[in-house]
Symmetry: none
Subunit: 224 residues, 2 copies
DNA sequence: ACTTCCTCTGAGCCTTTTCTGAGATCTCCG
DNA sequence: CGGAGATCTCAGAAAAGGCTCAGAGGAAGT
C-alpha cells in the first residue's frame, strides 16, 4: 500500500458529520490523506475500489451497519487494517467487533491522541518506510521501480508492471483475485484480460516462476 | 510463522506468577502453546531465540522493563505482534506503549474474553486468513483451495473438488448422502454419478483413505 | 516530427476443469 | 453362492479459464 513517497491513505466511514469533519481535519494535520463516507453503502464502494492503508469504521451506520460493512469487505478479500469506532463499549460489543474482523476497537468517546497512536500501530508495518519488498529470491526496489535479482542484476519495470508486482508482493502467499488486481492496479474501464497481459509481461521479464496462477482464483507470489 | 497445522505459539512475559499461571491456563484452553518468562531478561532471550506468533508483555517487569524489552526486540529485527499489558492506563501511558512498538495495549484489570479477542485479531494479521479445516491428519486451506499434508506438502484442488471436500469437512464423521452432496456442490441438472466421479478425483489426489464410503448411505470423512 | 517506450485490446491457441456415460468391480442379502 | 444394485474407474467431449502476442494508440523525450 503505502510506499513512503505519498501520504498514507485512510478511509473514514462515519455518519456523524460533525465528528467526521473533526476527524478528517485531525487526520489531515497528521499527514494522512482521507476519503470520507457517511453511510455503509458508500463505505463499501470506496473500500472495494479505493486503495487505503487503513480504515476507520463507525459501528453504527445508516444503510449498512459497520460490522456488516466490515464482513462484506473481508468476504471480498479486502485485508486492509480496520479500526472500529463505537459507542457500544460493553465487553460483548468489543469482543464481537474484534471477531467480526476488526484489527482494533476503540470506544467512544475516545481521545484523539489514542486514536492516532492506534492508527500508527496499525499502519506501522506498511508505513515503516520499507525500501524493498521480497519477491521470491529477488527483491523489489520501491524507490527505483526495479527488481534486484539474487545475482545483483537489476530489471526495470514499467509503471503498471511495478504497481502489479508491488500489490502482489505486499501480501505474499495470499491469493489475489483478478478482479481485485484489476480495480487496484488498472482503471475500472479496462478490459477483462488486462491483468493476464501484465502477468505475462512480468513473467517474460522475471521468469515464469515469479507469479503463480491459482486456477479459478487468481495470482499469487511467494508460494511455498 | 503459524501455518494452520500446528498450534499458534505465544510468548508470555509477566512477573506476577499468579496472573502468569492463570493466563497460561487460559491460553492452553484456547489452543495456544505458550512459553512463559517472569522477567525481561529471560523474555528477551526467549523472544530472540524462539519462534512465536504473538507475544504478551507486561509493562512493569523486573531486570528489564517491558517497553525496554520491546524496544530491544524491535531493534534486533523481531517483528512479531506484541500486546502490552499494563496497570498504567493513563492516556500518555497508552500512547507511549503503542508508539514504543506495541501492536495493542490492554489495561489491567482486563477481561479474559477481551484479551483472547485481541489476540485473535493480532494473530489474524499474519495468518493472512489462513483458516483451515482438519481433514484426517491433513488440513484444508480455505483461502488457497489446497490440502496441506502433515509433511507440509500442498496439493491444489479444483473448484468442485474443493467444494466437495469442504462440504464433507464441515461436518466430519457425519454421513453425507449423495443426493445432498449433489445439490450442495453441483448444479441440479448434473448426472447422478457426478459425486462418485469427484470422490474418485479426491481419492486419486489425496489417497484412498480420505473419503470413506458407507454403502447405501453416502460418504464420510474423519471416521475413526 | 521522429523515436522509443508504455498501455491496452482482442484474437487465437493451449491447458485445466467439468461433466457424461459405460464397463468393471464390489457389497449385501436371500 | 449368485444376482441386483451400488460403487469405482476412467476415457473423452465440451466448456471454462488462462496464455501468448501482434498491433493500435498515446505519452514522453529528442
Amino acid at each position: 500500500m503505502h510506499d513512503g513517497a505519498t501520504k498514507p491513505r485512510v478511509l473514514l466511514v462515519e455518519d456523524d458529520r460533525e465528528l467526521a469533519g473533526m476527524l478528517a481535519e485531525l487526520l489531515a494535520d497528521e499527514g494522512y490523506e482521507s476519503d470520507a463516507a457517511h453511510d455503509g453503502q458508500r463505505g463499501l464502494h470506496l473500500g472495494l475500489t479505493g486503495r487505503y492503508d487503513v480504515m476507520i469504521i463507525d459501528r453504527r451506520l445508516p444503510v449498512l451497519d459497520g460490522l456488516e460493512l466490515l464482513a462484506r469487505l473481508r468476504a471480498r478479500g479486502v485485508t486492509t487494517r480496520v479500526l472500529v469506532l463505537s459507542a457500544l463499549g460493553e465487553l460483548a460489543d468489543r469482543v464481537g467487533g474484534l471477531d467480526a474482523g476488526a484489527d482494533d476497537y476503540l470506544v467512544k468517546p475516545f481521545e484523539a491522541e489514542e486514536l492516532l497512536a492506534r492508527l500508527r500501530a496499525l499502519g506501522r508495518r506498511d508505513l515503516e518506510g520499507a525500501e524493498s519488498l521480497p519477491v521470491g529470491a529477488a527483491a523489489l526496489d520501491l524507490q527505483r521501480h526495479e527488481v534486484v535479482l539474487p545475482r545483483g542484476e537489476r530489471i526495470t519495470l514499467s509503471g503498471r508492471e511495478f504497481e502489479l508486482l508491488r500489490t502482489l508482493a505486499q501480501r505474499p502467499k495470499a491469493i489475489h483475485p483478478r478482479a481485485s488486481l484489476r480495480t487496484h492496479v488498472f482503471a475500472d474501464s479496462t478490459g477483462e484480460s488486462i491483468v493476464d497481459t501484465y502477468v505475462y509481461y512480468l513473467r517474460r521479464k522475471l521468469g515464469r516462476d515469479v507469479v503463480r496462477t491459482v486456477h479459478g482464483l487468481g495470482y499469487q507470489i511467494g508460494a511455498v
